[in-house]
């Protein structure tokens, strides 16, 4: 059982806020995700924003791209933090899955969400 698990969504521009708004509309669950934008940030200030959003944890940090400033800032700041897992390639399916699995430990919630996000990618 992982109490107080929350998600932090770190993206370019306004992507994180939009993903969270859509997740909350779909799931009806609010207040479990925090948006972080890299807008106007250098490396240090972006790391500070991420750190503040993660707080004491536990948390899963969802990053938009598997490279770039958002991921680098996340890993620089959180690489030695226990109780924090990181997932890249965030999408809506991933976040919807996550908010329904807040009772899982962070690593399991991250695995579960990543699997759901991956399944959502299809070429119909």
């Amino acid at each position: 059982m992982s109490e107080g698990l929350h998600g932090v969504v770190v993206c370019h521009g306004t992507v994180a806020a939009a993903l969270i708004e859509a997740t909350e509309q779909i799931s009806g669950l609010r207040g479990h995700l925090v948006a972080v934008s890299n807008a106007g940030c250098d490396r240090d200030s972006l790391e500070a924003r991420i750190d503040e959003a993660v707080g004491a944890g536990p948390a899963v940090v969802f990053v938009d791209m598997a490279s770039g400033s958002c991921l680098i800032a996340t890993l620089r700041r959180l690489r030695e933090r226990e109780g924090v897992s990181v997932v890249t390639g965030v999408n809506l399916a991933m976040l919807v899955d996550f908010v329904f699995h807040l009772s899982l430990p962070p690593a399991e919630a991250a695995d579960h969400a990543a699997a759901s996000g991956g399944k959502a990618i299809k070429l119909p």
Partner: protein, 158 residues
């Protein structure tokens, strides 16, 4: 082909550099000049993740880069030189004003003491003076975050 872009960007390697500039310029190598990163292999691994296949990533401290500028300029590999600090680009220009004659201000973000010159460019008065000195010594200094944007000259950033 010499250095195709010499850029000051405190996020170092990110999408604007790799995709926004790297693709249209046909860059095959990125020279990341930063004393801290040059001494941190873990951080280097992070930056390697951000570089597409086929693009070489070279890490150098400032002194090493100053010594290699002429060599990089003479090689055939189309290269982007990237640093996060105005101070660093001034040291590199002093070492080789020919290789560094064109300087792109791509992203310097807010910190105490800096004032906004453009939405992506904040400079202290000292940093601005350093850049005007470089310009007076022959450098072509412009601010331009992405290739599709209009370059902005130093006078407009006062």
């Amino acid at each position: 082909m010499p250095l195709v872009l010499c850029r000051v960007d405190d996020r170092l390697i990110h999408g604007q550099v790799v995709i926004g500039w790297g693709r249209p310029l046909g860059a095959r190598r990125i020279l990341l000049v930063d004393d801290d990163v040059a001494g941190n292999t873990w951080e280097q691994d992070l930056y390697r993740m951000a570089v597409p296949d086929g693009v070489e990533l070279v890490f150098s401290d400032v002194a090493g880069a100053a010594a290699h500028l002429a060599g990089w300029q003479a090689e055939s590999v189309r290269s982007i030189l990237l640093t996060g600090r105005v101070e660093t680009v001034a040291r590199l220009f002093a070492a080789d004003p020919v290789a560094l004659h064109r300087i792109n201000l791509g992203g310097v973000h807010h910190r105490p003491g800096r004032t906004e010159r453009l939405p992506y460019l904040y400079l202290t008065d000292d940093e601005y003076r350093t850049l005007t000195t470089l310009e007076s010594e022959g450098a072509d200094v412009t601010a331009q975050d992405v290739p599709s944007a209009t370059p902005v000259g130093l006078k407009a950033l006062r």
